[in-house]
Amino acid sequence: MTAASLNARGPARFDAVRLLRMLLPAIALSLMLAVIFSQQPRAMSYVGLTLLLNLAVPVILATLSQLCIIAINDLDLSIGSFVGLCACIAATLLKDTPLLGVAALVAAVGVYGLVGALIHWRALPSIVVTLGLSFIWMGLAVLILPTPGGRAPEFLTTVMKWKPAFVPLPILYAVILGLGMHLLMRSSLGTILRGAGGNPKALANAGWSLLRARVTLYLMAGTLGALSGLALVGLTTSGDANMALRYTLLSIAGVILGGGEFTGGRVNPVGAVLGAMTLTLAGSFLTFMHIPPDWQIGAQGAILIIVLALRAVLNRAEER
């Protein structure tokens, strides 16, 4: 049959392009590391890799949080200030009155779930709701911690400063998070959640509740966001309301870079982890490249454009 033979050839070509696209973050990451290592050989060590990458851990968590939201075709513009709020809670309440701190974190995550429900019930545009929400998180953070300070609870610093044998800590965490999220998204529950983004109608036809799927994903996002705040405080040892505003953009870019798409439930946790690490490293990369101070800011924009444009080119190749 001609149709069958056509099909047989089709997927093979698609796979090559798809593989390239999937590997794009890994390739970008290795390229940057290669340049950094050639500029500064001593970065190629246990300590070097730890220093280069440990601030990627909270970014990875924030990116995975964003991934949960994007999986159901929404967008979260509040994750940055939410991470900041959780960091402030950790550096104050959690340190001084652990019970109250835990309660506050749980409540914050709960609000995320409620927002998911609100968005579903009223069919609201998630972008604007989370934009408003970002002001609220920010305000709460400033109320809790009017001026930077507080102290990270000991256990958080221990967790983030731990020096495991052989594998640098950030790489260990990246692997754990990437694999963990990958397995979760591949689990029987994760399959349903991704399906809700892929074809909501089919899922509803099969008798699943879309409301529950959305709320679950928002709760997962909130939990990961809170973890990101805790990790951040563990690294910086103290809190600051303005600390993580940039994570909003970073997390979106990380998911997209990692092979995710804004619609269709297409997300790739491992890719997102690599994407988050690539973006964190992009800043460092520029420090190593000795770009003139005036252009250091612009170069970040240029890197974003180049990587995303490359992805678009590969996407288009795949469409053909």
Partner: protein
């Protein structure tokens, strides 16, 4: 193997979408292990009936009962699932971002815990092997990567997978539309075997020989009602087509209203589309004043052809030559036509904005006049053209879309099954209108799924699987000829 036991009983089920009555009181019994065939024209209500049966749609009236008359209250997807009713929907309902195995999981809440993936993949693979031996599908593939035909196989196989609840009834809504002949054959023979195991099936298809061989009993639907119900062995293709087609007297009326002269030769050519390299088939051409019908079953490339022509205006494309401005009358109002936030008048003027300008600005006076003129000419029933477009009934919305295209300067009007939801008297008005406009030199390309509409055309091209397989002139245009060409199947029966 028809048993007297009832698997499911629909009693006087009614369903309307706004002004469209999709089901006008249908009573249907499916026996345990029975193979039922369901046929009818596009829009006859087959899918709607099956949606009700699958619990996806709540009927406006009527009851559903199972197991010897026990009525099921609150019949929904969950209830259907508990009863063991499965459905292969007409529009694919797999999640394209999931793998084949994962899609099986979506159907089975019980598939979880350790090793669920292996079980799900085993389950679907087993069914695929049982129904389509030699299918060559890896259950780890992502569905989006599969060809349409293979996706269809997966969806069919998925409907037959069993975990906890035994299957009572499987609904197959045009399952063979994207299967090749071999796979279709395999499916039919599997249905025979399944029904021996006590599973009932409802098989919907436009390919009549298929239905006749697949089903023990055939039900024909027309305009939301069952018009024929009989044993397959006692029915012929001719009887079925007759019962679902337009009545003979309507046909003759249409024919008499049509122009008899056919002077294509001396008029300038407006449209020429040669087949694209991959597809083959005949070329399509139309001259000034032509009304050319595009026939064939739904989704066989007619709309794609219209879009191709639409995009070609003003571009140099040797395969698709268009000599005059084009305007399109979409049939799918919701997704292709109506601007829901706008008034009727704005919805009409949007195609003619350029000519409504005075000193560079759209002149509200002229816009009002335009709207008033067309309200008059095409008879849009509204107290005020400044009312929102959604305040109109479906048929009148469609008239507004006609007005949009006809009011423009376009010399070629493309019509993409434009009569959906339009009532019979309006249709008559519009037919007359199209005829008059054609006489004034406009060219119409008219895709229609309704047989009687095609008889208002001068010529008809019949589409099958993206290609033009027949070109029928007025003299050759009979319902039988068109149907034969549309149903051209693997046997290579081409007019």
């Amino acid at each position: 193997m028809v048993s007297d036991e009832t698997a499911l009983l629909l009693d006087d089920v009614r369903k309307s979408f706004g002004a469209v009555r999709a089901l006008a009181g249908v009573t249907l019994r499916v026996g345990r292990g029975e193979r039922l065939g369901l046929v009818g024209h596009n829009g006859a209500g087959k899918s709607t009936l099956m949606h009700v049966l699958a619990g996806v749609l709540k009927p406006d009236g009527g009851t559903i009962s199972a197991d010897g008359g026990r009525q099921v209250a609150d019949y929904d997807t969950a209830a259907a699932g508990r009863l063991g009713v499965r459905c292969v929907f007409q529009e694919l309902s797999l999640c394209p971002n999931l793998t084949v195995g994962e899609n099986a999981r979506v159907l089975h809440p019980g598939l979880r815990g350790w090793g669920w993936r292996k079980r799900a993949e085993g389950l679907i693979l087993e069914q695929l092997d049982a129904i389509f031996p030699g299918h060559g599908i890896d259950p780890k593939t992502i569905v989006a990567d599969l060809s349409l035909g293979r996706r269809q196989m997966v969806e069919i196989a998925r409907a037959f997978t069993v975990t906890d609840t035994p299957i009572r009834l499987v609904i197959l809504d045009e399952p063979t539309s994207s299967l090749d002949a071999t796979a279709a054959e395999q499916l039919l023979s599997y249905l025979h075997r399944a029904n021996l195991g006590g599973v009932a099936s409802v098989f919907i298809s436009h390919i009549l020989p298929e239905v006749l061989s697949a089903a023990e009993r055939v039900v024909v639907m027309r305009e939301g009602r069952i018009v024929l119900d009989g044993r397959a062995s006692e029915l012929t293709r001719r009887i079925i087509v007759r019962s679902m087609g337009a009545a003979d007297e309507e046909l003759s009326e249409a024919e008499s209203s049509a122009r008899v002269t056919d002077t294509t030769a001396d008029r300038p050519r407006q449209v020429l589309a040669t087949p694209l390299a991959a597809t083959g088939g005949m070329e399509l051409s139309a001259c000034r004043g032509d009304i050319v019908g595009l026939a064939g079953l739904a989704g066989h490339g007619q709309s794609t052809m219209l879009i191709r022509l639409f995009d070609a205006w003003g571009k140099r494309d040797p395969a698709t030559q268009v000599a005059a401005p084009v305007a399109l009358v979409p049939g799918d109002r919701q997704s292709d036509g109506v601007f829901p936030l706008w008034s009727i008048s704005r919805n009409i003027s949007v195609r003619s904005l350029g000519s409504l300008r005075r000193f560079g600005l759209i002149d509200p006076g002229r816009e009002k006049d335009l709207a008033a003129t067309w309200r008059e000419r095409i008879g849009i029933r509204t107290p005020d053209m400044d009312n929102g477009i959604l305040s109109l009934s479906g048929g009148n919305q469609q008239k507004a879309l006609f007005a949009r295209a006809l009011a423009s300067e376009a010399g070629i009007i493309l019509m993409d099954d434009p009569m959906r939801g339009v009532d019979i008297s309006t249709k008559a008005e519009v037919y007359r209108f199209i005829r008059a406009e054609a006489e004034r030199g406009r060219t119409f390309l008219w895709y229609s799924t309704e047989m009687e509409e095609l008889f208002h055309c001068d010529r008809v091209y019949v589409f099958h699987q993206g290609r033009i397989v027949a070109h029928l002139h007025r003299g050759q245009m009979t319902e039988a000829a068109i149907l034969r060409a549309s149903y051209a199947d693997a046997s290579g029966e081409v007019a």
